[in-house]
C-alpha cells in the first residue's frame, strides 16, 4: 500500500496515540469517580482479594486510589506529565490484572466453572464483569499506556514532560 502523500509520515500513528491518551484518561476518570462515590462498597470488594487485613492499609487503598486514578486520568486528558503518568497506570494495570486473575482462578476452582464463565464485581468501577472480557480490556489499556511511554501522543498537550519539556 502506498503512503498518502498529503499526510506526513507518523501523523496517523501520532493521532492514534493522542486518541489512546484521551481514552485511557477518560476510562480512569470514569472508574475512579464510580469508586469515589461509594468507597465503602469498594472497601468491601477489596476484602475479597486477600490483601493484608490491616485496616489502615485497606482503608488507604479504598479511600485514596479512586482519587489517585482520577488525577492520573485528568493529567492524561490535559497532556501533563504524560509518560510518568502512563508508567504509573501501566504498573497499576499490571497489579490489578494480576489480582483479578488470581481471584477469578480461585472462584473458578471453588465454583467448578470454566474460567471465562466466572463473573464477579472486581471493584474495577464497572460493576460485575465476565473475567475474560475484563482481562482483554486491561490488556488493551496496558497497550495504550505502553504506546504513551514511547513518547508519542504529544499533540494537544499542556506540558508533555513535567521535569523537562524535551522529555
Amino acid at each position: 500500500m502506498k503512503a498518502n502523500p498529503f499526510i506526513p509520515a507518523g501523523t496517523v500513528a501520532e493521532m492514534i496515540t493522542v486518541l489512546g491518551r484521551w481514552t485511557l484518561g477518560a476510562v480512569f476518570i470514569y472508574t475512579g469517580w464510580h469508586k469515589a462515590l461509594a468507597p465503602v462498597d469498594f472497601l468491601k470488594l477489596l476484602r475479597g482479594y486477600d490483601l493484608p487485613p490491616v485496616p489502615w492499609v485497606l482503608n488507604s487503598i479504598a479511600g485514596v486510589l479512586p482519587w489517585f486514578e482520577m488525577l492520573c486520568g485528568l493529567l492524561l486528558l490535559s497532556g501533563v506529565a504524560v509518560r510518568g503518568t502512563a508508567l504509573i497506570l501501566e504498573l497499576l494495570l499490571v497489579s490489578f490484572t494480576w489480582l483479578v486473575l488470581r481471584r477469578a482462578w480461585v472462584l473458578s476452582s471453588a465454583l467448578n466453572l470454566p474460567f471465562c464463565a466466572v463473573k464477579f464485581d472486581c471493584g474495577c468501577g464497572t460493576g460485575a464483569v465476565w473475567v475474560c472480557r475484563k482481562l482483554v480490556e486491561n490488556i488493551l489499556l496496558m497497550l495504550l499506556a505502553g504506546g504513551l511511554l514511547t513518547g508519542r501522543g504529544r499533540r494537544f498537550c499542556l506540558r508533555f514532560g513535567l521535569v523537562s519539556a524535551k522529555d
Binding site: A36, V40, L43, R83, G151, R152, K166, D167
Partner: protein, 213 residues
C-alpha cells in the same frame, strides 16, 4: 511532490529519545502529587473513609465448643446470632412487626443497614437509614429513635450480608439493649421477592410503592 512539514508534525514523526532519569523523576513526582491529592480528597469528601477505623471488626467468639456447621443455613445463622446475643427473625415475623410499625408511633422501628444509594433506590417503608460504615453520620438522628423504641428490626440485603449484624452490634455498643434488637435475615432481597411494599427516596416522606398482589 515535496511537502513542507510543520515543526509540530516533524516532532510527531520522530519523537526525541526518552531520558530514563527524566521519566523516573516525573513518575515519582506524579505519584507524590497523586498521593497528596488522594489523601486530601478522601479527608475532605463527605463519603471519605476514616483510615484507622476497623470497618469489619471480628464478631465476638461463640461459646467454646460451639459448632453450627451441621445446621441448615437459616438455623445456622440464627444460632450464630444467638451466640452473639442477637435474635434472628424470618419474613412472617418481619411482616407482623412492619404492620405494628405502621400503627405504633416509633414503638417498632426498622433500620436499613445498606448503603446510601441502595436505601434511596428502595427500602422497607418507614425504615430509617443507618449505614454501619458511617455511624457518626446517622447516630444523631437514629439513636434517640432507637432508645425510645421497644423493638428494632435491622436488615440489609439478605443472603450472606452481615451489615445488619454490624449495625446491631454498633447500637449495642452505644447502649441500646440487646433484647430490643432483631435481625431480619432475609433482608431486602426476601422482602422484594415477596412483592411487599417498598419506599423510595429519603425518610420520612419517601414515595411508597404498595405491595404487589
Amino acid at each position: 511532490m515535496k511537502l513542507r512539514q510543520s515543526p509540530g508534525l516533524a516532532s510527531a514523526a520522530a519523537p526525541p529519545p526518552a531520558s530514563a532519569r527524566g521519566l523516573f523523576l516525573e513518575t515519582v513526582l506524579v505519584a507524590l502529587i497523586g498521593l497528596i491529592f488522594g489523601f486530601s480528597a478522601n479527608k475532605l469528601s463527605p463519603r471519605g473513609l476514616v483510615l484507622n477505623r476497623d470497618y469489619f471488626p471480628p464478631p465476638p467468639k461463640a461459646a467454646a465448643g460451639a459448632d453450627f456447621s451441621a445446621l441448615a443455613p437459616a438455623r445456622q445463622m440464627a444460632a450464630e446470632l444467638k451466640a452473639q446475643g442477637l435474635r434472628a427473625i424470618d419474613l412472617s415475623q418481619a411482616r407482623q412487626l412492619f404492620n405494628l410499625a405502621r400503627l405504633s408511633n416509633h414503638a417498632v422501628i426498622f433500620l436499613d443497614a445498606r448503603g446510601e444509594r441502595e436505601y434511596a433506590a428502595g427500602h422497607i417503608p418507614l425504615a430509617w437509614e443507618f449505614d454501619p460504615y458511617q455511624p457518626e453520620k446517622f447516630f444523631p438522628l437514629v439513636l434517640p429513635v432507637c432508645q425510645a423504641a421497644k423493638q428494632i428490626v435491622v436488615y440489609c440485603h439478605g443472603g450472606d450480608c452481615d451489615d445488619s449484624v454490624s449495625a446491631a452490634r454498633l447500637l449495642r455498643d452505644v447502649g441500646v439493649p440487646n433484647a430490643k434488637l432483631l435481625i431480619f435475615t432475609g433482608g431486602m432481597a426476601e422482602w422484594t421477592a415477596h412483592g411487599l411494599p417498598v419506599e423510595t427516596g429519603g425518610h420520612p416522606g419517601g414515595a411508597v410503592r404498595p405491595a404487589e398482589k
